[in-house]
Amino acid sequence: MKSIHSTFLLIAGILLICISGYLSVSFGDLGWITPSEMLNILTIKISGNSPEDRTSSLHQVFWTVRLPRVFLAVIVGANLAVAGVLMQALFQNPLADPYVTGISSGAAFGAVTAMTLGFSQLIGMNGIAVCAFMGAGATTIVVYRISNHGGRRNAAYLLLTGIAVGGLMQALTAFLLLRNDPYNMRNILVWLMGSLAYRSWTYVWVLLPYSLLGLSSAFFLHRTLNLLSTGEESAHYLGLSLFRSRRILLLIATLLTAGSVAATGIIAFVGLIVPHILRILLGPDHRGLIPASMLLGPILLIWADMASRILVPGREIPIGIVTGVLGCLFFLGILKARKTESL
């Protein structure tokens, strides 16, 4: 019964991603791509024939603009949602996510450093990703160590440390921005706000190995995450190596966050919203939570991306603004629901 339920949810999730992805690639500045036009575009690609006028521009836009954008939304959505799940178990706090804990800001600092120093021209996207990873990793370690108050993970300490270290990283990023010329500064600012626009297949291919490595590792860790969620002392009694587990989780969460930030900038709160909804729907068992996050994260990000293209007529806004507003409402909702409990 349980396995039928899981199979149904898996199929429903994949179907929803496909439908959302179809809707997302179907509309844009050139108008709707009808199902017959899409079929035509796919046939042309497979047969290798040259497309006609309207089909030609649609063909171009479909393959080089809209499709990589949806693929990127799928990968980044899964990465950020799973990173949120890992951090919540690691920090033993449902409010932890890559943005709240300042890790995204650390990754952004690393990425902006790479852009300012010109690494991106030298070694391309990989240079940005590596620097983002270093920035995110350093921030994670600092936040984790400071929030370990008297041997216990304290939620209030975690949030305050995340805000403080994240604030420092933002200040350092702003300082670096001033060292760029106005043109670069504008580009970096737009990138910082989080966007899936103008991302080519290169971004997808660079991000894919980091994501596959991080997501597949997370898939094997559901028991570790369950044990950690019952407290570190309890997890130790059940045979978990706290030393090794903490490091592995930090590494994977940092990898997923840094790769995503390097590709799309800061897209906040995905790691907070997705696990929270799924815990209400499926319960806290990470055996279901991890794969479900890999499905709901992409759906959320595809729809947020569509909203970012629709909300302001004739103009696209960064997707980070959409998830920021959603996340803020969500965050306040959680705090209100927990107002009788201590943080």
Binding site: Q88, Q92, N93, P94, F220, L221, R223, N226, L227, S229, T230, G231, E233, S234, H236, Y237, L238, G239, L240, S241, R279, G283, P284, D285
Partner: protein
């Protein structure tokens, strides 16, 4: 028949990043036996469990588990030898009772191995034994302190280890469940050959159920022996500063204390080592 030692602590000294809390503590936990630890608040009783399990590093001494030095055991290997029932736990997410008890099987499973029918049978049996089967679909945040303690006992039983360490397992239990819990623990010893270490405050329960007792004060063992040797006014009074009247339980013949509130001593305890 000589009972086999499952755990041997030798000259165990440990503390929390400061002066040692327990000093040169030595004892054996044997199969089929309940070893009780008694002592005033702050005597270092819970520290003994934390040190035995490796949560606190040893400053001096050693711990042998099933004949092997604990330092040479991996965490999972250790969890297959000993299970712990803490006083309580802070769960950050609302797991069901069944999910909590299932976690007791994790040390025996590979990262992706699902629970087999044998595992499920043991989980069901553990929940029934600890009287939490009816709560199996409730989430842990909906449980009382006593119910949560029984869930933790069920989890430890599901772990199916030769050694169980219990930290005040009846501190939140009503009378029926205090007796049920200790009958369960004794049944595990007598019929399954498990060794048990149990931290207690209730001297009557200790005298009734434990085979041997250790009396701890300021982190040192000040007396050890059978309940008849320990539950005596001349042994208890210096530690607790309280006169006790020891009688015999008419049903079991075990020592039983009766306190006299008129002889109650409200003056501070002497700081004796």
């Amino acid at each position: 028949m000589k009972k086999e030692s499952i755990c041997r602590a030798e000259q165990m000294t440990a503390g929390y990043q400061g002066p040692a809390v327990i000093h040169e503590v030595s004892f054996d936990i044997r199969s089929g036996e309940i070893l009780g630890i008694l002592g005033p608040n702050g005597a270092g009783k819970s520290t003994i469990i934390r040190t035995l399990t490796g949560l606190l590093p040893l400053e001096k001494g050693s711990v042998l588990l099933a004949g092997r030095d604990r330092k040479n055991l991996k965490e999972k290997e250790q969890a297959r030898i000993l299970a712990v029932v803490p006083q309580s736990i802070n769960t950050f997410f609302s797991y069901t009772v069944r999910q909590m008890v299932e976690m007791g099987r994790y040390p025996l499973l590979g990262p992706l191995n699902p629970l087999k029918s044998d595992d499920i049978r043991i989980i069901e049996k553990s929940m029934k034994t600890a009287d939490v089967h009816d709560l199996s679909d409730r989430t842990v945040d909906q449980l009382s302190g006593g119910e949560l303690q029984r869930v933790l006992l069920a989890r430890a039983l599901a772990q199916d280890t030769p050694l169980i360490l219990l930290d005040e397992p009846t501190s939140h239990q009503d009378l029926r469940h205090q007796i049920l819990m200790f009958n369960t623990i004794r049944e595990q010893c007598r019929h399954h050959g498990k060794g048990v270490l149990c931290i207690l405050h209730d001297m009557n329960l200790a005298a009734e159920y434990c085979d041997r007792l250790i009396l701890l004060h300021h982190g040192r063992i000040v007396a050890s022996g059978t309940p008849e040797e320990i539950i005596r006014n001349d042994v208890i009074r210096p530690l607790y500063g309280q006169e006790i009247d020891v009688r015999l339980n008419p049903h079991s013949g075990a020592p039983m204390i009766v306190f006299n509130r008129k002889q109650s001593n409200n003056s501070p305890l002497e700081n004796q080592p």
